[in-house]
């Protein structure tokens, strides 16, 4: 089962890198499930929110996907990022933690779904420059396409893409500081 998971995820990520948005979406969705299960398993006391870790890991995967070699296995890459970010999150909360590099246990973890909580929609967007914030919100929260967003704000599609990318990078940086 793990082998199948690995193959499917690697295929999805390869297609995503070639530019397929749907495959990328599917990849991130499945990875979110795995990372959520991993984070919930490792966070035994409070202080660190598992869903924050999931989002931070997804952003890191997104911004660092060029560090994956298309012929390399994808799950060890994903879990190495997840482990790094989880340790970072614990450290920011002032906890000392040791997390084993236990790939076997991790890869057999069942994916888990996000529990719907009252997450503050604005929180991640707060620190962004105004243009970035409107573009990221239009695409993520309102679910508009890049074309629709460009029309709505009377921007070029290129400008929308740039604002979106910079906005995501800024959110990732904010996670690292909180």
């Amino acid at each position: 089962m793990t082998g199948k998971n690995e193959r499917e995820l690697a295929d999805l990520l390869r297609a995503a890198i070639a530019g397929d948005e749907r495959c990328y979406s599917a990849f991130l969705d499945r990875v979110a499930g795995l990372v959520r299960a991993y984070a919930r398993g490792k966070i035994t006391h409070g202080g660190v929110d598992a869903e924050d870790v999931v989002q931070e890991v997804l952003l890191a995967i997104h911004l660092k996907r060029h560090t994956w070699l298309p012929e390399a296995p994808v799950l060890p890459w994903v879990y190495a990022i997840a482990r790094f970010k989880l340790i970072d999150a614990f450290r920011r909360r002032g906890r000392r933690v040791e997390i084993d590099v236990d790939d076997i246990a991790e890869t057999f973890a069942q994916p888990e779904v996000e529990t719907v909580s009252e997450r503050d929609i604005g929180r991640a967007l707060e620190g962004l420059a105004p243009t970035q914030r409107s573009v990221v919100a239009a695409i993520s929260v309102d679910g508009r396409s890049v074309e629709e967003t460009a029309r709505k704000f009377e921007m070029t599609e290129t400008a929308v893409r740039v604002a979106l990318h910079r906005g995501l990078a800024a959110i990732a940086r904010r996670f690292g500081r909180e």
Partner: protein
Amino acid sequence: MNTQDLIRAMAADTRRQALPLGTAWRVAMGLALVLAGAVFALALGPRPDALASLETARFVFKFVVTLALAASAFVLLRRLVRPGEAARAPLGWLLTGPLLLIAAVGLELLAVPSSDWAERLIGVNARVCLTFIPLIGAAPLVVFLAVLRHGAPTRPALAGAVAGLLAGGMAGAFYAAHCPDDSPLFVATWYSLAIAGLAVAGAVLAPRLARW
């Protein structure tokens, strides 16, 4: 923003691709060589008998050992910027340079009477060595730290230290063409100290500069 919203935003950003790491490394190595070479040429330049000295084993060995260190550090560093590969990076390769150096020191101790050991170890140029290896290696170290920042080192301090060894090995090879001290005893003492300084600088700077 919930996780599904975030995934939607990232999917819309699919087409934007970062510079591949292979390209980043090629650019970085080229840039590091040019910068190190420029500092070397402006500040020191090769010693007058550098070409003729290529026939002496001790002179040539200085390049062998520094380049062996740089090569092993480079191979390792390429892995340390990729998550998932960093954990099983073959650190043992780094021993190539030090082991060569230990062997050369052994041969030197056999070849040279013990009354000359101290003189050869101290040499004439220790201060220049301690000054210029870090100076020549500083710009390459900055370049390599920029690659670490572009990559995703999960062991940033280690990656920074190895970046320092790579910069130091490179700087040592340039500096070797200038330095009149060829004894492995000198190299083992002063080159090692200077290169270790760059490694420490890398280990301290990388976790700060290469945050991701």
